[in-house]
């Protein structure tokens, strides 16, 4: 049984890429000696020193702007946004600047930058520390959007993100850190994982569940429960939202003909809507039932645990919706 954790994956990807390429550096709030608010990068400061980990004032726009500027002149910055919600203070740098630089300069400049966003709820983290904003970034041409669900994927995809020539928004779900300890130090070798290649994490025949980040775990638990009832779920983890593995989705729907999409972000305008549109555009003839989305209800994330449970997707909601579809 391996102890290799999601946090290990992130930390090792950064460390190995820093070893490989002296241009790689990290910048963000408390990323220095403290190792970040979740301790994910703890120890890197001792290993690589202050010139590789720039511990900043609380100034998100200047932080991301610094990464953009450094990237334009040869740096390979990794920004840590302590809580993804705070990225909203840096939107000009992400959306007006980084995302468009390559395009509006006619290909003359590029911004090879990774913005690590700690996303989702850790339980009662409230409306301004729990949002799942991936659909907003996926909407913007010029950005790539990555959403790993496992320790191995976190490591392999982050390595690819750091080597990528374009700006990459890299979501890390805090529910995949919290309660699982910080980095354990156990090293697992993982090669860079190419973007745009999804993964079937459970094989099945009755229906395909597409899910990512923490919600993927709920989907897996739901599939386990449903298998006891004789319902066979296939689970497809796209791993990257932009680019999206449309061929992989089609392959799965060829087997199942039914699609349920589960994510923590609010359902309305969530990335699930895009996935549903891909399925409708590419696989209409394969579908034998309506596409169902299980996302958060369309509210800010509430504080009280009972209300939070009521709004966010859960194992039982996924089970219930699958039963309705397949039953």
């Amino acid at each position: 049984m391996t102890n290799f954790s999601y946090a290990d994956g992130v930390r090792q990807a950064i460390a190995e890429e820093m070893e490989r390429d002296p241009a790689v550096f990290m910048i963000g709030e408390d990323v220095g000696a403290p190792g970040g608010v979740f301790g994910v990068t703890k120890g890197l400061w001792d290993q690589f020193g202050a010139n590789r980990l720039w511990d900043t004032p609380i100034s998100e726009e200047a932080i991301v702007g610094a990464a953009v500027g450094a990237a334009l002149v040869g740096g390979r910055p990794i920004v840590e946004i302590m809580f993804g919600d705070f990225s909203l203070l840096a939107m000009d740098m992400i959306i007006n600047q980084a995302a468009k630089t390559h395009y509006m300069t006619g290909g003359n400049l590029s911004v090879p930058m990774v913005v690590r966003m700690v996303t989702g709820t850790a339980g009662s983290t409230g409306a301004q520390h729990s949002q799942s904003l991936e659909a907003m970034f996926a909407h913007v041409p010029g950005l790539k959007v990555v959403a790993p669900s496992t320790a191995e994927d976190a490591k392999g995809l982050l390595k690819s993100a750091i080597r990528d020539p374009d700006p990459v928004i890299f979501f890390e779900h805090k529910g995949l850190y919290v309660g699982r300890g910080g980095p354990t130090g156990e090293v697992v070798e993982v090669a860079p994982i190419p973007f745009g290649k999804g993964k079937v994490v459970r094989k099945g025949t009755d229906l395909t569940i597409v899910s990512y980040l923490k919600t993927l775990e709920y989907a897996q638990q739901a599939a386990e429960e449903l298998s006891a009832e004789g319902i066979s779920c296939e689970i497809f983890d796209p791993r990257t939202l932009v680019p999206f593995d449309r061929a992989g989705l089609r392959t799965s729907l060829q087997k199942t003909g039914r699609l349920l999409i589960a994510h923590e972000a609010p359902t309305r305008g969530g990335f699930g809507a895009e996935i549903a549109a891909y399925a409708a555009e590419d696989c209409f003839e394969l579908l034998r039932s309506p596409i169902v989305r299980v996302g958060a209800r369309n509210t800010p994330v509430p504080y009280a645990p009972v209300m939070e449970r009521h709004t966010l997707p859960s194992v039982s909601r996924i089970v219930e919706e699958v039963r309705k579809l397949v039953g």
């Binding site: 702007g65 500027g69 600047q97 006619g106 003359n108 400049l109 374009d166 973007f195 745009g196």
Partner: protein
């Protein structure tokens, strides 16, 4: 040391040749902009223009104090900075005309023009947008022990943006090699400075971040060059950033088409008398013995260069509609997946 309270004595010896070169560069900007406005009226330029006319001494004074390794970020009013840095007017016109021969292959236009060979990292459509980016370039220079300096131009209006304040704090904290050049032309878009901030001087804001703030006559090219040199030396020594406020004036509206009726006539007249393209040639004659022939030759060269540039730009091809799909990403992967 830089005088943080007042103007700088610009008595560095200047040769006639140097003086004429500064004049030529300023005139090239002035005439580039005047011709651009005409060409826009003729329908050759589809988008926005924010003419730099009136502020030429600042761009030229700053750029003449820099080295080839240095980089710059600019504003929506960026043509002057770019020409001062040495950009090719032909490729600039081609970009304004939205042709493939333009600096950005017709994808950027006036607001996003770049010249990577000159370290010109871009005009910017967002007020204050270039400031954090210059901070980042300076960070990379510091990280790699480069002697290069980053320079960012912005206006009095941008000094009210969060990006300005966040970046000044960060740059002072880390002693980054960056120059903050505030061209105070008295107006943030249509709003007079006294209606958008309490302080008389943007440079006074430097105190809040622990860096020197210098005020200079932005219409005096020699004075601007002098204060910039001192700030560049300071940055290269590792002593950190400087905020330089150049007091200047835009002769036209915020953008081409804005009649700028919000400005008092007396104010306009006062500043027109200080037009650097009027005062500097006079100074060249009185202090540097420039002859009418010297000045006339400069004028002829500028006109000829611009007409050649315009003719070249007009010959450049229009992009194909489907070129719009290129350059969204560096990495094309499987193109369809990214579309």
């Amino acid at each position: 040391m830089i005088d943080t309270t007042g103007s700088v004595d610009a008595r560095t010896p200047v040769s006639l040749h140097e003086g004429l070169d500064l004049f030529e560069r300023m005139l090239l900007i002035r005439r580039f902009e005047e011709r651009a406005a005409q060409l826009r009226a003729e329908g050759l330029i589809p988008g926005f223009l924010h003419p730099y006319i009136g502020q030429e001494a600042t761009a030229v004074g700053v750029c003449k104090a820099l080295s080839v390794e240095d980089v710059l970020t600019s504003t929506h009013r960026g043509h002057g900075h770019m020409i001062a840095r040495g950009a090719d007017p032909a490729r600039m016109y081609a970009e304004l005309f939205a042709r493939t021969g333009g600096y950005n292959r017709g994808k950027g236009g006036s607001l996003h023009m770049i010249d990577t060979a000159l370290g010109f990292l871009g005009a910017n459509g967002i007020v204050g947008g270039g400031i954090p980016i210059a901070g980042g370039a300076a960070l990379q220079f510091k990280r790699t022990s480069s002697s290069a300096v980053a320079v960012t131009f912005f206006g009095d209006g941008a000094s009210n943006e969060g990006a300005f304040h966040e970046t000044l704090n960060l740059a002072a904290l880390w002693k980054l090699p960056v120059l903050f050049i505030c061209e105070n032309n008295l107006y943030g878009e249509f709003t007079r400075q006294s209606d958008h901030m309490v302080l008389d001087n943007v440079a006074d804001r430097a105190v809040a971040y622990g860096m020197p703030g210098v005020i200079v006559d932005g219409n005096d090219v020699l004075a601007v060059r002098e204060v910039t040199r001192e700030a560049v030396e300071r940055a290269r020594r590792g002593d950190g950033p400087t905020l330089i406020e150049t007091k200047t004036y835009r002769h036209r509206g915020h953008f081409e088409g804005d009649m700028a009726r919000y400005r008092p006539k007396e104010e306009v007249a006062e500043w027109m008398a200080r037009d650097p393209l009027v005062t500097f040639p006079k100074r060249l004659s009185s202090e540097f013995s420039a002859t009418e022939t010297d000045l006339g030759d400069v004028r002829t060269r500028v006109e000829s260069r611009l007409e050649t540039a315009i003719a070249w730009a007009k010959e450049q091809e229009h992009p194909h509609p489907e070129d719009a799909l290129d350059h969204v990403y560096v990495d094309t992967l499987e193109g369809a997946a990214l579309q």
